[in-house]
Amino acid sequence: MSLLSVRDLHIHIGDNHLVRGVDLAVERGECLALVGESGSGKSLTALSLMQLLPSHARLEHGEWLFDGQDMRSLDEKAWRKVRARRIAMVFQNPMTALNPTMTIGQQIAEVICLHTSMSRREARQRAIDLLERLGIVNAPRRAKQYPFELSGGMLQRAVIAMAVACGPSMLIADEPTTALDVTVQAEVLALLQELCRDEGLGLLLITHDLGVVEAMAKHLAVMYAGRIVESGECARVLSQPAHPYTRALQAAMPSLGEARESLQGIAGTPPDLSRQIPGCAFAPRCPQAMNICVRELPQTRLIETGQCTECWLWEKPE
């Protein structure tokens, strides 16, 4: 059984139907990558999995299991015990994700004190141990420093230390390297991969970078306008993308060594989500669009190459 499985997730903010029926499954010890254009609803999906959406957002969902437990019955108080202890989050920008007026050590110790019976001193020591383990040299001194005194890469390590401090079984990382220097990006990703492998953590990794996906993820889900349009084993999806959007996304990515000029963006803009979309949301931008695409939503199908996709091209003609 999956570590996390959620079905038919919907998020509304105001009149906008921003996430429109997402199914996700994260396995223990494996990485699921979630990719998609800016604004496709990846971050909202991630936040909803920890019940952290802004208060004016409305969340609807079907079946929702985490570690064998039905999450639908949890109230806010129960959710507070899930956060950081069982599911933890690593945010995009470590420079802003840490409180500027508290030391790194205090911030890590805080979460330990909250979820364990450790004393403040023990928690401090454990924070230092964690920092050390995550590759921060001179950890006792670093723990006493404030966020503005550390580099971005070190801060992200501290954020990761904070996330794994209470031994969660799942980690959600929302573009964990986008705000970092290229040189430290690889280090942070390697760290996440290592944690995933050694601790059996399930990892939901949100990223724009298909290269990262290829290196890290076992499974891949491609999101467009609030729906997963294609998902499956990473290797298969990337080698034989089934959905026109996945292909467009792949074509838009600069691969290593490729000249800049050959970079091709995806023409057109994402749809307006304040309106009901009866058919395939990608239709206005899809080079293979057919008449039916605009009118009716295709079913999600498991195709021969082993991935799931929703596209009329793969519907069997009756």
Binding site: L52, R80, A84, R85, N93, A97, N99, Y146, F148, V159
Partner: protein, 314 residues
């Protein structure tokens, strides 16, 4: 940090010298002198008095004399209160103003910070709307009107209950303190509430507050540990001007509530052109406020590690 403090204090001294000089010459530019009143009936008497207080000397010499005495901490003798030294006036009456001011400041800060936080939490909802309406009223109605209204209210309340719930004016007991302190702090409280509300709204939308929620902290824990201190930073920078506002506001409130504070003597002295008292209290207030500004800067460093560790850069 030490170098920074010394620098600030040096600038402070310069400011005080400037205040002293400006007051001195402004004073001498005002037509008339303290002996215009009935007290000095004959011209001869006036001349004698002028000579006694050194007003017959050239202005330049008077200025140097005044600066010299001031350097030794001597503000001279009052022109209108027989044989009373300005230093004594300050020593006796400043504590009264200070008590009133400190209580007003406490009421204003606690009320303003709490009000601002409440308004931010219920952003655009009823508590926020009501509070912001009250803020506009409190900022736009001058304190002497509020003071008069408060006195009227006390009179009415005393009348209705048939006994003296609160004194209308005067000084001497705790019951004399609350109403003037509240009146004095009201405008500042409103100003701080508005400031706190907007800085709290900023803080509530930061990533680190989301991080705090993702840690599993509850609303109160997040408020105390993560939001309050950060939201206070912009409020603390305004503490200097705030204290200045309460200090000057005290002049009016002391007069209306008949409180024997330094502010009341200052207003009296201005009315009677009592040169030495005016100059002495002005310079004293100037020095006081300069010191407060430096202290507030230090306090800012205590709250914000970025300032503390980088020696006064903002």
């Amino acid at each position: 940090m030490l170098r920074y403090i010394i620098k600030r204090l040096a600038y402070g001294l310069l400011t005080i010298w400037f205040i002293a000089t400006a007051t001195f010459f402004a004073m001498h530019a005002v037509p008339g002198d303290p002996f215009n009143s009935a007290k000095a009936a004959t011209p001869q008497l006036r001349e004698n008095l002028r000579a006694r207080y050194g007003l017959d000397k050239p202005v330049g010499e008077q200025y140097l004399l005044y600066l010299g005495n001031m350097l030794q901490g001597d503000f001279g003798i009052s022109f209108t209160q027989e044989n009373r030294r300005v230093n004594d006036i300050i020593r006796e009456h400043f504590p009264v103003s200070a008590i009133l001011g400190v209580v007003a400041l406490l009421i204003a800060s606690v009320g303003g910070i709490a009000g601002g936080a409440v308004a931010a939490y219920w952003h655009n909802r009823l508590p926020d709307r009501l509070l912001m309406m009250a803020v506009v009223l409190a900022i736009s109605i001058p304190s002497f009107v509020i003071a008069a209204l408060a006195q009227l209210l006390i009179v009415q309340a005393n009348d209705l209950s048939g006994r003296s719930l609160l004194p209308v004016a005067g000084w001497g007991s705790l019951s004399h303190l609350w109403v003037p302190a509240l009146v004095l702090g009201l405008g500042t409280m409103a100003y701080l509430a508005r400031l706190m509300r907007s800085s709290m709204l900023d803080v509530m939308n930061t990533d680190y507050v989301l991080t705090a929620r993702a840690k599993g902290l509850g609303t109160w824990q997040i408020f105390w540990r993560h939001q309050l201190r950060n939201a206070l930073l912009p409020v603390v920078t305004e503490l200097g001007p705030t204290i200045a506002a309460i200090t000057t506001g005290g002049f009016v409130v002391e007069l209306i509530f008949a409180i024997p504070g330094l502010g009341r003597y200052f207003v009296q002295a201005v009315q009677q052109l009592d040169y030495t008292v005016i100059m002495g209290t002005t310079v004293f207030y100037g020095a006081f406020l300069v010191l407060i500004v430096v202290l507030v800067d230090l306090l800012y460093g205590v709250i914000d590690p970025r300032i503390r560790l980088h020696g006064g850069q903002r």
